[in-house]
Amino acid sequence: MKSSQRDPLGLYMIGIVGLFLAGFFLLVVFGAKSYGNIVAAQNGNMETRATLSYISTSVKGSDSAGAVEIMDSEYGHVLIINDGDTGFALRIYRCNGELVEDFAASGAGLSPENSQVIGETQVFEVERPCSDMLIVRTDEGRVILRLRSEGSGR
């Protein structure tokens, strides 16, 4: 007889457990979403640095007269950075949605199979509006570089 009656303590317990479960569930969902956003932003920052800063560093590291050239190829624009007088050059270009680089003899054909991946990009455009200015565009934005070696010597 007594067991058929509603026990307020039992309902209270169920309510508390339900509240705890709902709280944990919301916390896990919110936490997972926040973590996903943080990782996405971190990857975005890394991509930006990897593509734009890497190109900038490569160009500035070999900024000697006539070292930087732009070539059109079957892969689109190719940024050629000659390694001094060694007869070799670093070539940066886009292949299969990836920005790649290879190091080979100047004038040799491009070899994407021997290249290293810098990052992912759907766009790679190199422009030289004046002799001492280089503009490189990728998915992550663009980087402007002043070629000190091509300037007026200031």
Partner: protein
């Protein structure tokens, strides 16, 4: 009497537990929210640094204030604020955009030397309506007599 006392103690304990649980959830939510905000700020800062670096390189390429304005301007995104200050606008994707949220303020302050001119430039990047700068960079370029 004894049973009622036990039940009251149980209610008090569970209420206390709920309060502690809610407090923990609030703290964790704040921590996660802070992480999210910081991550967004880091993204903005990375873009601001890239835009400031680009502006600094453009300053290095210019030999006069007019030339700088010409080099900075793409699709009408650069304005002259005063004689020595330019405001350049970029979109959230860092593409030139006259109505974009990124504002890059570039100054051109020549200082006459004995054989040339030292031009100092302060580059300040802001985002949206906020007046607080995200990133500030100072650079300088030396112009020989013939270049002025």
């Amino acid at each position: 009497m004894k049973k009622n006392g036990h039940i009251t103690a149980f209610y008090v304990e569970t209420l206390l537990l709920v309060v502690i649980f809610v407090a923990i959830i609030l703290v964790l939510t704040n921590v996660l929210g802070l992480g999210r905000r910081e991550s967004g700020d880091a993204r903005l800062l990375t873009k601001a640094v890239t835009l400031a670096e680009n502006a600094a390189e453009t300053v290095a390429c210019a030999d006069s204030g007019e030339a700088l304005l010409g080099l900075l301007d793409e699709n009408g995104n650069a304005l002259r604020k005063d004689a020595a200050t330019f405001d350049v606008r970029y979109g959230a994707d860092m593409a030139p955009d006259a109505k974009g949220p990124f504002s890059v303020e570039v100054t051109w302050e020549p200082e006459q030397g004995t054989v040339g001119t030292l031009v100092s430039s302060r580059i300040t990047v802001r985002y949206g309506q906020s007046e607080a700068p995200i990133y500030t960079l100072e650079t300088a370029v030396y112009l020989k007599e013939a270049e002025r």
